[in-house]
Amino acid sequence: MHEPNKRVSFFRPRGSTMRGETRVIKLVMAGWLAAIAGSQFFVWFLETNHSALLLNDYTFFNLPVHFWLTGQFLPLWFILLCILFNIWMDRHAARSLDGSLRFRIRSGERGD
């Protein structure tokens, strides 16, 4: 029977691969959540504490700032987060492969 503490869990990762992966997932998720909630609280803050006209007067790339921030920037930010995640995963996979190859070569030498 697997002991409860030996079952995999996102918050109690086992082994270096899973630990590294969960760490980077937490970072990406933090960036994802902060951008969505942060941008909307910013828009809401501008609307409620300043003139709503301010939102339409501020333009960025030709668009009112809240349209640009939400409609243009956030999808771009998501793409960027995905790229960063993939780069990290590729490097991590390469390191793991490298480690496992060295391990196999060493054990092969011992066998000889």
Binding site: H2, S9, I36, V43, F67, P75
Partner: protein
């Protein structure tokens, strides 16, 4: 009585586009083996991305989002963020892990991971319900476009649309047509963006990148015609906006036909990079769709139309209306119509086939006729396909909202049920059958409670808007799954070991 004329040029373009897709599908079918052998690296990833985007693009993206923007302004941005942000969840939490399970469908995954036939059946029923709801949105889009092309009413257009979808599936199946998704995406994106560029050019805006050019149109609407959409959170609260946005994200990572892209991808690394390309291709549509809504408003303003239009049917057709009001050439309008119909057709036919396969594979041989042969299952799949198409058609006769709103209900159901089942199934080894069954049942309750009790109990309607219930629903279902799982015996050692060793590469422990 005035009968609008049949739009011959658009009709010819629609027929031509379908002929092109079928012919390229025939070639894809015969080439597929060699292509899998040699595609890889850069081309493979772009191809996977185009397939993800093509699989994703439906009437909700092609028609619904622009209509939502036209009618509700900034509120529609919740759809843009929800339908792109969900791919981040999908990539980091599920994409590569799902493939390691080696399963073929959401019910397969749930049945295997939770070692429960009940959970598998429940997941199959949920998948079929999602198919029906999502299908209604597609049928509505198809019917609106066919009604315009043939100059007929909405109701006969729904019936014709349903007949065409069934015929399309039968003909494709008989000819052995494989979906050339890569080509389909590029045809769709051209059909969507080229007319937009011509619209922006006609109005004198920055037409090379109309995704930015429409900002000037917003200013012109305000300064010249005194029209502005309401302030972001004046008619819709911040809570409602965020609830819709997160519901769509959870739903994206829980929709069975979206997850299906990742069960059998050739390589994990290519699949991950394919998601990035897919997200970029999808974002191209969502960066563009709001522009249609804004430009349609501007054309209406210039023509002296009042700004009080709140007709959801008219709003869902705004992409086409803008092109018609700009008097773009008939072939351009036909291209738009063909793109919309093609997007809706491929989505709904794929979902109906998956739904009927789910019934014949997961429900029929287990609940109705144990010991059914393979040929029985094929017959049942065909019969259930027709039943599903008829059910979707019947519901589409009286749609309960705009295309994007109908689709959002399917996302809410997926976000409240399949998403938590997959999330804990992958990331928590203690999650078990009792937990997932309780969780999915709670998810069904949460999804449909606002529709049934929303009027009687205003608090439910406020906290759980029908299209946005997964914001509270998904965390609630996760909590139920954790509590019930802890109260029930843990899953078998075999599954615990599989999850640790094969899914998460954990080292073996003594």
């Amino acid at each position: 009585m005035y009968n609008p004329p049949v739009q011959l040029v658009p009709l010819a373009i629609v027929a031509g586009m379908f002929a092109l897709l079928i012919i390229s599908g025939l070639r894809t079918g015969s080439r597929q083996t060699s292509e899998y052998g040699f595609s890889g690296g850069y081309t493979g990833r772009v191809g996977i991305g185009a397939a993800i985007a093509s699989n994703w693009m439906s009437a909700a993206s092609f028609l619904g989002l622009a209509g939502m923007f036209y009618l509700k302004g900034y509120y529609a941005m919740a759809f843009v963020v929800g339908w792109t942000g969900g791919y981040v969840l999908l990539l980091v939490l599920m994409a590569s892990q799902i493939r390691r399970f080696g399963k073929y469908s959401a019910p397969d995954f749930v049945g295997f991971r939770y070692e429960s036939e009940v959970a598998r059946t429940l997941a199959a029923l949920i998948s079929i319900t999602i198919t029906i709801i999502y299908g209604v949105a597609q049928f509505k889009g198809i019917a609106l476009l066919l009604a315009w092309i043939f100059g007929i009413g909405y109701t006969p257009a729904v019936v014709i649309g349903a007949s065409l979808v069934v015929s399309f599936v039968v003909v494709s199946g008989a000819l052995g047509v494989a979906r050339n998704q890569k080509m389909q995406y590029f045809v769709l994106i051209i059909a969507f963006i080229l007319p937009l560029m011509l619209l922006a050019r006609k109005l004198g805006y920055f037409w090379l990148l109309p995704q930015f050019g429409y900002g000037a149109a917003i200013t012109d609407l305000q300064t010249q015609f005194g029209f502005a959409w309401s302030e972001p959170f004046s008619t819709v609260s911040l809570y409602q906006w965020l609830a819709l946005c997160f519901t769509l994200m959870f739903g994206t990572a829980g929709l069975p036909h979206v997850l299906a892209r990742f069960y059998m991808v050739p390589g994990i690394r290519d699949a991950r990079w394919g998601v990035v390309w897919g997200l970029f291709f999808i974002a191209l549509i969502y960066w563009s769709a709001p522009a249609y809504g804004v430009l349609a408003r501007l054309f209406e303003a210039r023509a002296g139309f009042p700004f009080n239009s709140a007709d959801p049917l008219a709003a869902d057709m705004v992409v086409l209306t803008a092109a018609r009001m700009a008097q773009l050439p008939a072939w351009v309008i036909g291209l738009l119509a063909a793109g919309g119909i093609s997007a809706a057709f491929s989505t709904v036919s794929g979902m109906l086939i998956t739904g009927s396969a789910s019934f014949s594979h997961d429900i029929y041989p287990r609940l109705i006729r144990p010991g059914a042969t393979e040929s029985d299952k094929v017959y049942v799949a065909k019969g259930f396909f027709l039943i599903l198409a008829a059910a979707v058609m019947a519901l589409a006769l009286k749609p309960w909202g705009m295309i994007a709103e109908i689709a959002a209900l399917a996302f809410a159901l997926a976000g409240n049920t399949i998403f938590p089942a997959f999330l804990l199934g992958i990331w928590w080894g203690r999650a078990n059958a009792a937990g997932v069954i309780a969780g999915m049942l709670t998810g069904i309750l949460v999804t449909f409670a606002p529709l049934v009790l929303g009027d009687a109990v205003p608090l439910i309607g406020t906290l759980l808007p029908p299209t946005a219930s997964a914001f509270i629903g998904a965390p609630l279902v996760l909590a139920v799954m954790v509590a019930v799982s802890l109260a029930a015996p843990p899953p078998s050692n075999g599954i615990a070991r599989f999850l640790a060793r094969d899914v998460h590469d954990c080292p073996e422990e003594p």
